[in-house]
């Protein structure tokens, strides 16, 4: 049964890689910036899933820590890029109204 389970993990990993390749197609050929951002976000989520399945394939539980790291970094990267393209800067205060008053 564990042999069959290995094939199940392998098929799952291959299908996740296939969907990552399709996400790369959208990332390269996306018409707008937001399409590319969406593709990057989905690609990161699929990377996390692939890492988790890969840890089961090679039977070492260490890589799930890296998967946690990827999940958090993916979110932070998406929010940072969005903030940069909204405000054209990264050091914008969180309280927008107060900073506007300070500028006056």
């Amino acid at each position: 049964m564990s042999v069959a389970l290995g094939y199940v993990y392998l098929g799952t990993a291959l299908l996740i890689i296939l969907s990552m390749v399709f996400m790369l197609v959208r990332l390269i050929g996306g018409p707008t910036l937001y399409d590319r951002l969406l593709a990057v976000n989905a690609f990161g989520t699929k990377t996390v899933l692939f890492l988790c399945v890969f840890c089961f394939i090679i039977d070492r539980p260490d890589g799930v820590d890296i998967a946690i790291l990827y999940a958090l970094m993916n979110f932070i990267a998406t929010i940072a890029v969005l903030k940069f393209f909204n405000y054209k800067a990264l050091n914008v205060g969180l309280m927008r109204k107060e900073s506007a008053e300070v500028e006056k």
């Binding site: 969907s19 996400m23 937001y34 969406l38 989905a42 989520t45 539980p61 998967a67 979110f75 929010i79």
Partner: protein
């Protein structure tokens, strides 16, 4: 090679045991196997459906809908299948952490992307329906 030798050495004893006691099936392992396969298949269905949606749908907002479905239900189902297989251990705790972070962060990221696209004036394809006013205060 050594595994092969071990299996071949153990085979006659195993065959005698099988003949003596009848077929013994580990029902719990079988149940876990079936649960894992069903969960992984469901998760892969959602992941592939979302991928095909991202490739083929005509508009940014519809693509966003497909990707959001992939990020939540597909990811959670695949992680659930792995958790079923890993049992009650440290591995399943880490996988639960991954599932929790994905469940919190990916809808937030999807919402942030949609909000930023809407604020920047990207208009959706709406056919015969009218788009909401872009100048409206959000």
């Amino acid at each position: 090679m050594s595994l092969f030798v071990t299996i071949m050495a153990a085979a006659p004893a195993a065959a005698e045991h099988y003949v003596a006691s009848g077929p013994t099936i580990d029902w719990l392992a079988l149940l876990r196997f079936v649960g894992t396969v069903l969960s992984l298949a469901g998760g892969l269905f959602f992941v592939m459906a979302g991928t095909i949606g991202v490739i083929r749908l005509p508009d940014f907002y519809t693509r966003l809908h497909a990707a959001g479905m992939t990020d939540t239900l597909g990811a959670e189902l695949i992680l659930l299948g792995l958790i079923i297989q890993s049992g009650f251990s440290q591995m399943s705790l880490k996988l639960l952490l991954v599932a929790f972070f994905l469940l919190v962060t990916s809808p937030t990221a999807t919402h942030a992307i949609a909000h930023a696209a809407y604020k920047s004036g990207l208009e959706p394809f709406l056919g015969k329906f009218k788009a909401p006013d872009l100048d409206e205060e959000v």
